[in-house]
């Protein structure tokens, strides 16, 4: 964006730099950090990034930071860290190398910075080329009506002869042994009956024979039927006592009828 502003500042002219720096300051939020700013500044040199003058770039950057300070602009810490580093680099580049000094030479550091700038620029170019490619859903298309693979689940039931025989044996022997085991299969307890009736009483708006409230499985076998009848009757009495139902019997041995009490 700031590129146009640099067009007339052909060579390192201090004035042009300052003008550029001011323009940049206004836009400081638009930069993604010091490296991005350096890359933008480097464009004023109008040379291949590989032949860029890092010394000149450091000067530009430091001028930018000075301007920002003069304008009392808050610069993020990383801009200041970069400024300090570039000032260090500048001194290294300007002073003749001291053979006794440890660490990398100014030239090495400058070369690495140039590499970083070139690499960032290369990645930006790649990003642009990538986004400029033919793209799915914009330039080429997938099937508009894909047919998904349907998963059909087929269940196959199995049973063995043993299952079959055991089931039969279970049924046929259930009644035979009842008197001799503590088998409560045929007992429908008062608690069960109460729970069963409570679940149904809400629907009993009209007088209904309590015999119809016998639970499933207790209507055929006489013993089970007897147990269920007794407990259902007792449970009905309990509901009447709670004031939730009414009971009536027209005459002796007539059906006992139950109704919800509203």
């Amino acid at each position: 964006m700031a590129e146009d502003e640099f067009d007339d500042g052909a060579r390192p002219v201090a004035l042009a730099d300052r003008l550029a720096a001011e323009a940049l300051i206004v836009d400081v939020d638009g930069f993604e950090g010091p490296l991005d700013l350096l890359l933008t500044l480097s464009r004023t040199q109008k040379v291949d990034l590989r032949r860029i003058s890092i010394l000149h770039l450091a000067r530009q950057y430091l001028a930018f930071v000075e301007r920002a300070k003069a304008l009392r602009l808050e610069l993020a810490a990383d801009y200041l860290v970069m400024a300090a580093w570039l000032a260090f680099l500048k001194s290294r580049l300007l002073l003749p190398p001291d053979p006794s000094e440890e660490g990398p030479s100014g030239a090495d550091l400058a070369a690495h910075l140039a590499f970083q700038l070139e690499r960032l620029q290369a990645m930006r170019d790649c990003a642009a080329r990538l986004m400029g490619r033919d793209r799915l859903g914009r330039d080429f298309f997938a099937r508009g009506l894909p047919e998904d693979v349907t998963r059909r689940r087929e269940t196959r039931y199995t049973a063995t002869l043993l299952d079959l025989m055991q089931a039969y044996a279970r049924i046929r022997t259930r009644d035979e042994f009842r008197p001799y085991v503590m088998d409560r299969d045929a007992i429908f307890t008062m608690e069960q009956a109460l729970e069963h009736l409570r679940g149904l009483i809400g629907f009993a708006g009209t007088w209904t024979d309590i015999a119809t409230y016998l639970p499933e499985g207790f209507t055929v076998d006489p013993a089970r039927r007897r147990s269920a009848t007794a407990s259902t009757f007792a449970a009905a009495l309990e509901l009447v006592k709670e004031g939730r139902a009414e009971l009536r019997q027209a005459e002796i041995f007539a059906p006992v009828e139950l109704r919800r009490k509203d």
Binding site: F141, A142, R143, G144, L145, E147, D148, V149, T150, R151, R152, R153, E154, T155, R156, Y157, T158, A159, T160, L161, L162, D163, L164, M165, Q166, A167, Y168, A169, R170, I171, R172, T173, R174, D175, E176, F177, P179, Y180, V181, E216, G217, V220, D221, R224
Partner: protein, 217 residues
């Protein structure tokens, strides 16, 4: 592509060569989620195009292929060849154990056939749900036998050949009686009550009215 050559020599405003039009409708029909009619296609193609003619070529091109160009109402669409539909389905076979209700019902039918629903309920002590019977019918392990000559002429159930196949039986008569089941340790091992003879044990099969009728049809 020789056709392209010809075309570029003509005016720029001419309709594209038919081969190019064919490519166009091919792409449009492929990418569209709904069938397209020729009017819609023409509206999207360069001026002067004739989708109808291109469609004839395209349809021919896809004849016998894995995908066909088919007419859908007023429109056209690409569809998987009907014989390859199976590639789009993934079948999963799951084996599940038969429910207790089903196996008991089946056992009663096997031992007492032909047997009515009321008789099954009488023996099991609980009502038999429609679903259970339907399931067994669907599995082709039971089928309807002849009606009983009793009031209401209720239908009866009998086991099928595939039932015998599945359980490796020659006939339902081969099913072991209660005595044998007990001898084989297949009964719940509740001890028989001391001294008391097991009334009716083993006789079930013999005396059962059903037994004589077994496999009569």
């Amino acid at each position: 592509m020789s056709q392209d050559q010809e075309n570029t020599e003509q005016s720029l405003f001419d309709a594209p060569p038919i081969a190019e039009q064919e490519r166009m409708i091919e792409a449009m029909l492929f990418a569209s989620a709904t069938p397209l009619d020729t009017r819609e296609m023409a509206a999207r193609m360069p001026h002067g195009s004739d989708p109808s003619e291109a469609l004839v070529h395209l349809r021919k091109r896809y004849e016998g292929r894995g995908v066909n160009l088919v007419r859908v109402g007023d429109g056209w669409a690409m569809r998987t060849a009907p014989d390859l539909g199976y590639l789009m389905r993934r079948e999963m076979v799951e084996t599940r154990k038969l429910s207790r209700a089903a196996i008991e019902t089946l056992a009663i039918i096997a031992y007492h056939q032909p047997v009515t629903r009321a008789e099954i309920e009488e023996i099991r002590g609980v009502s038999v749900s429609r679903g259970t019977v339907d399931q067994l019918l669907e599995m082709e392990w039971i089928r309807f036998g002849r009606r009983k000559m009793t009031p209401g002429r209720p239908v009866t159930f009998v086991v099928t050949e595939s039932f015998l196949d599945h359980f490796g039986l020659e006939s339902a008569r081969d099913l072991p009686g209660l005595k044998e089941l007990r001898a084989a340790g297949l009964l719940d091992n509740r001890p028989p009550p001391g001294g008391l003879s097991l009334a009716g044990e083993g006789d079930d099969d013999e005396g059962a009215p059903g037994q004589n009728e077994l496999f009569e049809d």
